[in-house]
């Protein structure tokens, strides 16, 4: 069932049209990947879906309601957003970082947490296997461990939709696989998960649905096997892809440069 949808979505930056008439729908219970070359408009689309920017034309609907007309309080409970730079400006304790995900539910970090908030934080930490990180300062953690806590922060909101911008960029393969497995598990629990990805191999393996952007336009939208076919992605990326099939999943590999 469609949870987030865009209709004729347009976003301009100066004279440039970053997104041009995008019509795409993301269903709950599925992991959707937004892919495309650098500058295709992936992050712009995600920010519009999250209600952080307003469109220059068209609309974003969450269950039929315009996202930009939701109050900040309602929006923050229904949509959780993980920005690309997971920068944290203070060396908080792991548990306090995750507790920030409960702010939409009224949590105040300066006071003792309510039992439902504390329970949600524990659940989120358990899901990412981060219980041991709860009492450690985040400036003492590795990048992978910090990414895990960032993900737990988003899970702690227990929102109906999770939007993540490049959640596996700069991560070791082990952490990348772990993060994708976690997001997939969230989708299996009925959450609408939308992820911007660069890694087409991970996309082919984990995504239920792929939206391909190039030059601000939606080039294709559908199951990974259809969208990640060389006839579709070759022109979008300007690269000749070949595919290797592993465990029945076709993995696209960028092979020839077509400058």
């Amino acid at each position: 069932m469609t949870m987030l949808a865009t209709h004729g979505l347009i976003r301009r930056r100066g004279a440039r049209t970053v997104l041009d008439e995008i019509d795409v729908a993301f269903a709950k219970g599925r992991l959707s990947a937004v892919v495309g070359p650098n500058g295709a408009g992936k992050t712009t689309l995600l920010r519009l879906l999250a209600g952080l920017d307003s469109a220059d034309g068209g609309e974003v609907l969450l269950d039929g309601h315009r996202v930009d007309r939701l109050s900040a309080a309602v929006r923050s409970r229904r949509i959780a957003f993980l920005p690309q730079s997971a920068a944290v400006y203070w060396p908080l304790l792991g548990r306090d970082l995750v507790a920030l995900g409960r702010l939409p539910h009224g949590a105040d970090l300066s006071r003792p947490l309510s039992p439902p908030d504390a329970a949600a934080i524990d659940r989120a930490l358990a899901r990412v296997g981060g219980a041991s990180l709860a009492t450690r300062r985040i400036d003492e953690l590795s990048q992978g461990e910090r990414a895990r806590l960032g993900l737990a922060r988003v899970l702690a909101t227990e929102a109906e939709a999770i939007l993540a911008d490049e959640p596996v960029a700069n991560l070791d393969p082990a952490y990348a696989l772990e993060a994708m497995t976690l997001l997939k598990a969230e989708a299996a629990r009925g959450v609408c998960v939308v992820v911007c990805l660069h890694d087409l191999g991970l996309t082919a393996r984990f995504a239920d649905h792929v939206a391909l952007l190039a030059a601000g336009r939606l080039q294709a939208s559908g199951p990974p096997a259809a969208v990640l076919h060389p006839t579709v992605i070759d022109p979008a990326y300007g690269v000749g892809f070949r595919t290797v099939t592993v465990d029945g999943i076709a993995q696209p590999i960028a092979w020839t440069y077509r400058g």
Binding site: S76, L82, S85, Y89, L100, L103, D108, D139
Partner: protein, 318 residues
């Protein structure tokens, strides 16, 4: 920790009332004794409490809001702007004509300084861009203050502005408290109402907005709040530097670096620092009493260097 800090502030408040050139004032007779305590020492101790709390809280808010451990009303030019506006009100005769002119001018000056600063912070919240903007604002305000000094009608007026700028809470009376306390209390209330959202800003502006923070409205509230506190404090006490910088650093690690939890302890530590410094300038065996602002800067600046050296942490280097 808050209870300990509050007790310490209360003890210093009493110590401040007990300190002065005549020592135990009632030995000069009941009437003179009460006059000294009520007219001289009580206003001074109350102002120490108010100004210190305002500066400590302002420092904590600015550091949390700008996500920058070097933000402080003095360093980033907000105090200088408030001083310029207050000095202008002083010597244009406005302050004499209308009792609220001085604090209102201070508040307007501080708010203008913050607004100018925010235009730079929007472009990039890095320490360098913030401090560069602070340097620029400080330079402009200092130049304007020099201009006012140059236009001073006589050497006495010149010296009076100069001493006032150095920061002091000596020889103040109840009037100074009445014109500053309501603004400082209102500013502190505004800040504490928005405490939760300062925690969200630890994740940067985008994540904070996704967590429900209306960053534009928060910015307006905090500009107003810091303007009220720093403007009113500067208008009655002149420039008292480094309290806003030092206070949050003293408490941050003890509250787990949570920006919201830093606020109230910083406010108490600010009050403690100003009360202690104001007692110290009275006890120091100098011919003329050292100006409070001079003393806090002399002690505060080396302290800052020590804090930065000891921290050596990545979060200071961004």
């Amino acid at each position: 920790m808050k209870a300990v800090l509050a007790l310490l502030a209360a003890a210093l408040f009493l110590a401040s009332i007990a300190t002065g050139p005549v020592g135990w004032p009632w030995r000069l007779g009941d009437e003179v004794g009460w006059a000294i305590v009520l007219d001289l020492r009580l206003p001074r101790a109350l102002l120490g409490l108010l100004v210190g709390a305002a500066l400590g809280l302002s420092g904590a808010v600015l550091q949390a809001w700008l996500r920058n451990p070097l933000a402080e009303p003095g360093v980033i030019g907000v105090s200088a702007c408030a001083s310029f506006a207050a000095v202008s009100a002083f010597y244009s005769g406005l302050a004499a004509a209308f009792v609220l002119a001085l604090p209102l001018a201070g508040i307007a000056g501080a708010a203008a300084g913050i607004a100018a600063l925010m235009s730079a912070v929007r472009a990039g919240a890095g320490t360098v861009s913030l401090l560069l903007m602070g340097v620029a604002i400080n330079a402009i305000a200092a130049a304007l203050i020099s201009l006012v000094l140059a236009l001073a009608p006589n050497p006495f007026a010149f010296q009076e502005i100069w001493l006032w700028l150095a920061g002091s809470i000596a020889d103040r009376d109840l009037r100074h408290i009445l014109v500053s306390a309501p603004f400082i209390v209102a500013g502190a209330g505004l800040v504490l109402m928005n405490r939760r959202w300062l925690d969200a800003l630890s994740l940067g502006e985008d994540a904070a907005r996704s967590l429900g923070v209306d960053t534009r409205r928060l910015g307006l509230w905090l500009t107003l709040a810091v303007g009220l506190m720093v403007g009113a404090a500067t208008a009655v006490a002149g420039m008292v530097g480094f309290v806003g910088l030092v206070a949050p650093h003293l408490v941050r690690a003890r509250v787990g670096f949570k920006p919201g939890a830093t606020l109230v302890p910083s406010m108490l530590v600010g009050a403690i620092l100003v009360l202690a410094a104001d007692i110290a300038v009275r006890l120091l065996p100098t011919d003329y009493e050292l100006q409070l602002g001079v003393f806090t800067s002399l002690v505060g600046a080396p302290f800052l260097v020590r804090v930065i050296r000891r921290a050596q942490a990545s979060w200071l280097a961004t």
